[in-house]
């Protein structure tokens, strides 16, 4: 469904600060895959998501989505079939606009943004129903400005908005990392509900090994810009935190500091 071939991204090429953030990475993602991505800081996880979404341009390699080469498309064009939630809850919503206005914009994604009214009364009950499933009380706050919501509420709303127009692929970039543990668990539950019920192909970067193991059908570990582990299906179900760390040590015995970072 999404094929990446020999991606390469180098910052400060030809200088002493040359930094290879993605190093000949290839990855095939199948329809309906829910992949968790782990790796230490600087492993290239976020860069990988940025390369897919078009936030950065890769230096080499191809990205093919459903048979179509997208590596040359600008970010806003790729956004039409990609949904994304960031670590910072403020990034997925427009803070000075109300919940209703934010949802209305997301609902209209892929259609024309013309001179008709931004809020359509017909959609309100639909929005209320979606929000009530979150159990966060947001359905009664439709006319509240999003900037007044808590981080968890905003992140839940970001998830709803990112998936509203049925994206072909959903990119989650440590989307629970800025939240407190309880809220983080709630957002993970919501994520699982949405991804499973709607069967959205998903790539989720996380630093939480429990989430990485419990969620999804496939796990990849990145290290220095490459994928060093790729475990799917039944093999993934048997994984524990300890076995995962052992696997990492076996492939990279020298990188003790990274092991600590992962734990």
């Amino acid at each position: 469904m999404l094929q990446m071939q020999n991606l390469r991204k180098v910052y400060n090429r030809g200088t002493v600060n040359e930094n290879v953030v993605i190093n000949g990475l290839s990855l095939n993602i199948d329809e309906g895959d829910f992949i968790t991505v782990i790796g230490s800081n600087g492993a290239g996880k976020s860069t990988l998501l940025n390369a897919i979404s078009g936030a950065i341009e890769v230096d080499e390699g191809s990205i093919v989505l459903n048979g179509k080469e997208i590596s040359n498309l600008p970010e806003f064009k790729r956004s039409r079939f990609i949904g994304r939630v960031f670590q910072n809850p403020a990034m997925g919503t427009s803070p000075s606009m109300t919940i209703l206005e934010n949802l209305s914009m997301a609902f209209n994604k892929g259609k024309r943004f013309g001179l008709t009214f931004g809020v359509s009364k017909r959609n309100i009950s639909h929005f209320r129903e979606i929000l009530s499933q979150l159990n966060l009380g947001l359905e009664d706050k439709l006319n509240v400005k999003v900037g007044l919501l808590s981080g968890g509420q905003r992140q839940a709303l970001s998830l709803i908005m990112a998936t509203m127009s049925d994206p072909e692929i959903l990119l989650l970039d440590e989307h629970t990392a800025a939240l407190d543990p309880a809220t983080s668990e709630r957002i993970i539950e919501i994520t699982q509900d949405i991804v499973q019920s709607r069967k959205i192909t998903t790539l989720m970067v996380t630093h939480n090994l429990h989430h990485a193991i419990d969620l999804g059908n496939r796990i990849i570990m990145m290290h220095r810009g490459s994928i060093i582990l790729d475990i799917k299906g039944d093999k993934k179900k048997g994984l524990t935190k300890e076995s995962l760390l052992k696997l990492f040590e076996k492939t990279h015995p020298d990188d003790l500091s990274d092991r600590l970072l992962l734990a």
Binding site: E75, S79, F86, G92, S94, S104, M105, F117, G118
Partner: protein, 298 residues
């Protein structure tokens, strides 16, 4: 004195149209657009040249509006397509327009005392400016409630969300700048007809007046949650005009007006800046609440 109040209201509403334009870029797009100094004079120049040629005043207003839209689109093009910073894009267009305005008028000052203007009829001036200003305000309010208006608001608020909606944010910025400068130019056109001449220096400092109006209106009226932002801007323009008139009444010479404008903006910004407000509050009420709020960081 009642004559003075009339003048304040008339000029306040004319400047209010300009301030509504500045509001689109400054608040909605988060773009400090200096080209308005040029487009205000552009509106006046186009109107003067048209009226001297005997063109109908309504057509002259429309031509000014279109000229402003075009100039704003140029600012947007420089910023979005050529990657020039927002401040510099505005300054470049402002400087360029100075020469263009001189070309349009043929000289630095073009009076048209005996020509027909929108104020020629029997209706009092205040009614005419009121109708235009309120009309512009209502159209702007409606526009910001449309789908494209939502996107415009989101652009200044969180550009990332606009990109994630699959929309070319560059085009939205160009659209916002075009609309903004269109309104500023229309305001310049009405101002020229009001004073019956156009001067190439008319626009200098317009951006500061626009900002003064926005900040003034917001800082005084934001506690009333039912007042829409555009109403605050219009009211702010009148408050601004009133405060400069009071300064003149107090005996300051008109040549001090720009300095007074600057000082008014500094005071308004300083007061609306939270730092001063909260420092004052802390001094006045240093109690359990403020200590408890800081407990987290301790």
């Amino acid at each position: 004195m009642s004559g003075l109040i009339g003048v304040v209201l008339e000029q306040g509403f004319i400047f209010g149209i300009m301030a509504l334009g500045v509001y689109i870029t400054y608040r909605t797009l988060d773009f400090p657009d200096l080209s308005v100094d040029g487009t205000f004079a552009l509106g006046a120049a186009v109107t003067a040249a048209s009226l001297v040629k005997g063109i109908n005043p309504i057509t002259a207003c429309t031509l000014s509006l279109l000229a402003g839209i075009l100039a704003g689109a140029v600012t947007g093009f420089l910023h979005v397509k050529l990657g020039i910073t927002n401040l510099l894009s505005g300054i470049l267009v402002m400087i360029g327009l100075y020469s263009i305005n001189l070309r349009i008028m043929g000289k630095a000052n073009l009076p048209f005392f005996n020509k027909e203007t929108i104020f020629t009829g029997s209706s009092p001036k205040i009614v005419i400016v009121l109708v235009i200003a309120i009309g512009v305000k209502l159209i702007l309010d409606l526009f910001l409630k449309t789908k494209i208006g939502f996107v415009l608001r989101a652009t200044g608020d969180n550009p990332g969300i606009v990109v994630s909606l699959g929309i070319d944010i560059g085009l939205i910025k160009i659209l916002g700048l075009a609309l903004s400068n269109g309104l500023v130019s229309l305001s310049g056109s009405i101002m020229a007809q009001y004073q019956r001449f156009s001067d190439v220096g008319m626009g200098s400092g317009i951006i500061v007046m626009g900002l003064a109006s926005i900040i003034f209106g917001e800082s005084v009226l934001k506690r009333f949650s039912l007042i829409s932002p555009s109403t605050m801007v219009l009211a702010g323009a009148i408050m601004y005009k009133a405060s400069t008139s009071i300064a003149l009444e107090l005996g300051f010479p008109p040549t001090d007006l720009k300095l007074i404008t600057s000082i008014i903006v500094v005071i308004a910004l300083g007061l609306s800046n939270k730092r001063i407000g909260t420092t004052l509050k802390r001094v006045i009420s240093r109690g359990g609440d403020s200590n408890a709020a800081n407990a987290k960081s301790a």
